[in-house]
Amino acid sequence: MKKTRPISHSWWWKVIALVCLLYTYIAGFLGTVPAMPILNETIRNLFFHVCMWMSMFVLMTVNVVYGIRYLSTNNSYDDLVAEEAARASMVFGIAGLVTGMVWANFTWGAPWVNDPQLNGTAATMLLYAAYFILRNAVNDEAKKSKLAAIYSIFAFAMMMVFIMVLPKLTDSLHPGKGGNPGFNKYDLDSNMRMVFYPAVIGWTLIGVWIMSLRIRFRLVEQSYLEKL
């Protein structure tokens, strides 16, 4: 009987990711975008900066879901997935921060301003840094996984409050919020949507791909160490 391969080993979704990204780069830089005051051509950052956050968010959700799974199953594989999801989401968080800062330098005149979304991002980055510090502080494997899972569930809840609830109370400088021109549902025209949705799919799949490669690498590493 043919052994079924896990979905992370199959190739079709990687092709989709690459095609989506290729399309994003070509259509995102060459396609037509609406002319907006202040934003001008920097509106193209939507295809890169915003997608970084989406991808990071998906990976953080994976992290917390596998954290919960670990607490109920005590299976070390679940913890491995949670850890690698956090690592990959950190990469996308940094990429999102950098693309956002470059963009902000052109539109707001400064790379960092006091904005609720920026504060949320800073908190998220610190939370995940603390998550890795906690992991490194414990030597015992089972204990490390358990503590990390508990901390990540707590951190995810606090982060959701910070990113979802608090910005509703204050005006943000971000496009489409607080009366700023931008890409909310009336402004985002169909041309941009045609690029934006594939871009989100592409970047998210790339994030999952990075995560699954790291997981496979760690599994190979573990089996090698066991043989020694």
Partner: protein
Amino acid sequence: MKQLSSQVNKLILHEIRIEWKSRQAFTSIIVYSLASIYITYLCFRQGIDPITWNALFWIILLFAATNAVAKSFLQESRGLQFYYYTLLNPRAVILSKTIYNVLLLVILGMINFACYAILFEIPIGDLYQFLIGLVLGSMGLSATLTLVSGIVSRANNNASLVAILGFPLLFPLLLTTIRFSKNAIDGLDWSINQPYFIILSALNVLIIALSYLLFPYLWRE
């Protein structure tokens, strides 16, 4: 349920009795925060504006809270933890620790506020609103730090880890509290502060519910 509440009562009384016997922990925290308040007084002798006043007050309380609450699990020996483990419901342990720390921090916050208000004469527009913010903020601070202290006590018992793990978790709470008390200092109407009040209460409920749910996993080793 009845057993849980009786265990919680006994544990809280036990904590208070231990504290009353030595009085060392409480006095050291009081001295710590009074000293920090006096340092800020010396630094801002020529006067201070309400925004800075408010921010400094909460930062001093944050550090005092970290020091006060960090000990809650760390001071217990391994042996005592095993003894508790055989006797008690883990939920009773976390609830009693949280309630005790909330009491401790509310008292600490009130004392801090009294000294701070004497040293810096800041006209507070709405004292009752400010006190509500103080109570809710201290509750959230101590509840979060209690769970973090529980996590750290299982990790490596390093007190500095409490600050590293706790501070990022406290961002949303502190931000809301500082906004709430700033509005209270300005004497704004309750209707402006109401959404912040709702968020603060919801955050407190969320934090306590999460510690209640997650602590048993921490306990089982």
